[in-house]
C-alpha cells in the first residue's frame, strides 16, 4: 500500500521533471558545471597543458598587478559614467514622449534601440571611422565650431570618454522601452488629480510619477550596471585597451590573459573578482533601492 502510494506520487510529479529535463541538461553541462570549474580553475596555474595548484596566488598576483588595477578602475569609471547618464537621459526622453501619439513613441523606441540590435561589431566599426582623427567626420564637425582636431581614441584624456559615449548609445534603448511602458501604465487619473491640485511639472514628476516607476528604475540601474561591467567588444575593436591601458577593462584583460597568454587560471580569477563585484553591487542596489519602494 505504502509503495503503491509512493508510485502514485512519483507518477504525478514525473511529468514536471521530464519537461524540465532537456533545459536542465544543457544548463548543468554548459552553465553550472563551468561556474564551479571557474572557481577551481582560479586556484590553479594552467596554460592548457600543465596544471599546478597554486591556491590564492592568482588573486594575489592580480591585486598587485598595476594593469589589472588600472583595468578595474577604468571599468568602475565607465559604470559610474554610464549608469547615471543612461538612467537620467532615458527617463527624460520617456517623460517627454510617453503620452504622445503612437508614431512618436514608436519612432523614439526604434531609433534609440537600433544600436543595441545591430551587431556590436558594426557599431564599433562605424564609430571608429567617425572618431578617426584624420578621416573622421567628428573632427570635421567640431572643426566647424572652431575646435582643434582631437585624437578621440588615442588621447589619454579623451579615450575613456569616447568609449563611454559609444557604450551609452548601446545602453539607452532598453531603458527607454521599459520607461515608456511603465509610464503608460500609470493611471491617468493620478496625473489628472495632480493637475487639479495645480502641481507643477517638477512636483508631479518627483512626488507622483517617480515613486510609481521606482521598480522599473531599480531594474534599469541593476541591468545597466551589470552590462557596463562587462564592457569588452568596444574596447577590443576601438582601442585595444590603449593608450597606455587608459581604456582597458576587466573583461578585456580576462580576454588577453586567457586567449593571448594562455593563462586560464589567472583569467578565471579575474572572472571571479568581476562576478563578486557585480553580485555585491546588484544586491546592494536592490536592498538600498527596494527598501524605499514600499510605502
Amino acid at each position: 500500500m505504502q509503495s503503491q502510494n509512493g508510485m502514485l506520487k512519483f507518477k504525478k510529479v514525473l511529468p514536471g521533471y521530464l519537461f524540465l529535463l532537456p533545459a536542465m541538461l544543457f544548463f548543468l553541462a554548459f552553465v553550472l558545471y563551468p561556474i564551479f570549474d571557474a572557481v577551481i580553475l582560479s586556484m590553479y596555474k594552467y596554460n592548457g597543458v600543465t596544471k599546478t595548484f597554486t591556491g590564492i596566488s592568482n588573486y594575489v598576483t592580480l591585486i598587485k598587478d598595476d594593469v589589472f588595477r588600472r583595468s578595474l578602475s577604468n571599468t568602475v569609471l565607465m559604470v559610474l559614467i554610464n549608469v547615471p547618464v543612461t538612467l537620467v537621459v532615458s527617463l527624460i526622453i520617456s517623460l517627454i514622449v510617453f503620452n504622445k501619439n503612437e508614431f512618436i513613441r514608436s519612432f523614439t523606441r526604434a531609433a534609440f534601440y537600433l544600436p543595441a540590435v545591430s551587431s556590436i561589431v558594426t557599431i564599433s566599426i562605424v564609430w571608429k571611422w567617425i572618431y578617426n582623427p584624420m578621416f573622421g567626420i567628428l573632427n570635421y564637425i567640431v572643426g566647424i565650431f572652431g575646435i582643434e582636431p582631437v585624437n578621440w581614441l588615442g588621447d589619454k584624456n579623451f579615450a575613456l570618454l569616447s568609449l563611454s559615449a559609444v557604450l551609452f548609445t548601446l545602453s539607452v534603448g532598453q531603458p527607454i522601452i521599459l520607461y515608456i511602458a511603465a509610464l503608460g501604465n500609470i493611471p491617468s487619473t493620478y496625473i489628472e488629480a495632480a493637475d487639479i491640485d495645480g502641481a507643477s511639472a517638477w512636483v508631479r514628476i518627483t512626488r507622483i510619477i517617480w515613486p510609481l516607476i521606482k521598480p522599473t528604475s531599480l531594474y534599469i540601474i541593476v541591468i545597466t550596471t551589470i552590462n557596463s561591467f562587462q564592457t569588452f567588444a568596444i574596447v577590443q575593436l576601438l582601442t585595444s585597451g590603449g593608450p597606455s591601458y587608459r581604456t582597458s577593462t576587466i573583461v578585456f584583460q580576462l580576454y588577453q590573459s586567457a586567449f593571448w597568454n594562455d593563462e586560464y587560471g589567472l583569467a578565471s580569477a579575474m572572472g571571479m573578482i568581476l562576478s563578486l563585484i557585480v553580485v555585491i553591487i546588484s544586491v546592494v542596489q536592490y536592498k538600498f533601492l527596494s527598501n524605499d519602494v514600499e510605502y
Binding site: F19, A29, I35, L41, F107, L114, S119, F135, F229, F232
Partner: protein, 295 residues
Amino acid sequence: MKGNSVNIAFRNNIPARNNISANSKKIFIDSVLVGVVLLFALMFLFPFYWMVTGAFKIQMVAISIPPEWFPKAPTLDNIKLLAKVPSGRWFLNSLFISGATTLLVCITSAMAGYSLSKKEFPGRNIIFWMFVAVMTLPKQVILVPLFVMMRKMQLFDSFTGLILPAVGWPFGIFLMKQFTQTLPSELLQAAKIDGCNELQTFFKIVLPLVKPGIGALAIFTFMSSWNDYFWQLIMIKSTPMKTIPLGIAGMQEEYSTNYGLIMAGSTLASIPMIAVFLSFQKYFTRGITMGAVKG
C-alpha cells in the same frame, strides 16, 4: 490632453480664456521638447546613415575631408569585393548558428517554462531561483572553463561548440516561465478531464497559447546569438567558419582605412537584425518588458 484641461478648468470654475492660453503654452513647450527628442533620435540614427552611404563610396571619397554627405558617384565596387572575402559564406554561417540556437532554446525553454509554472514537484522553487541567480553573473566568467571544455571535446572551431553553450543560458526559461504563468490553470485541468495526456496538453493547449511569448523569445535569442561576439571570437579561428560579425571585424584589421568596403560589410552584418527589429518591434517591446523582473 486639451479636452482634459478644459474639463478641469470647468470643474474649478477658472475662466476658460486664461486656461486656453495656459494650454497653448503647454502645447508649445511640449512640441519643443518632442522636437528636441526627435533631433537627438536622428543623431542616434546618423551612424547608420553614415554606414549605409559609406558602403557606396570609393576609398578616396570615404576619407575625404570635407566629407561627402551623400555619395555623388555611388559605386558598387565595395559590394563586389565583399562577395570575395567570402562574406556570403559568413552570412550563411551566422544565419545557421543563430537559427539552430533559436530553435533549441525555444523548445527547451517552452518545456521548462511550462514545467516550472504549471507543474508541482519537490525542488521546483529552488531550481527556479538558481536559474535567476545565475543570470546575474557576468557570462564571461564561464567562458574560460567552457573554452577549455570545448577544446577537450574537440569542438573548437566548430558550429556545435558555438551553439551548445548558448542553449544552456537560462534567460529563455525565465521568460517562458513568466509567460506561461499567466495561463489559467483551469484550462489545463479541463484538458486533462477531456482525456488529453501530458504531451497532448502541452502541444495542443499550452504551446498555441504561449506562441506570443515564444515569438519574443525567438527574436531575442536570434539577436543575442547573432551578436555574441566574445564567444565567436575565441571559438572560431578558420576563415570559412567565421560568422559575419567576426569576419567583418577581421576585415577591419586587414583593410584598415578602406572604409567603403568595411562599411559595406558592416551594413551586411547589421541588415538582418535591423530588418527583424523593424518588422517585429512589438515583440521586442513585449520581450523587454516581460523579461523585467517585477520589483
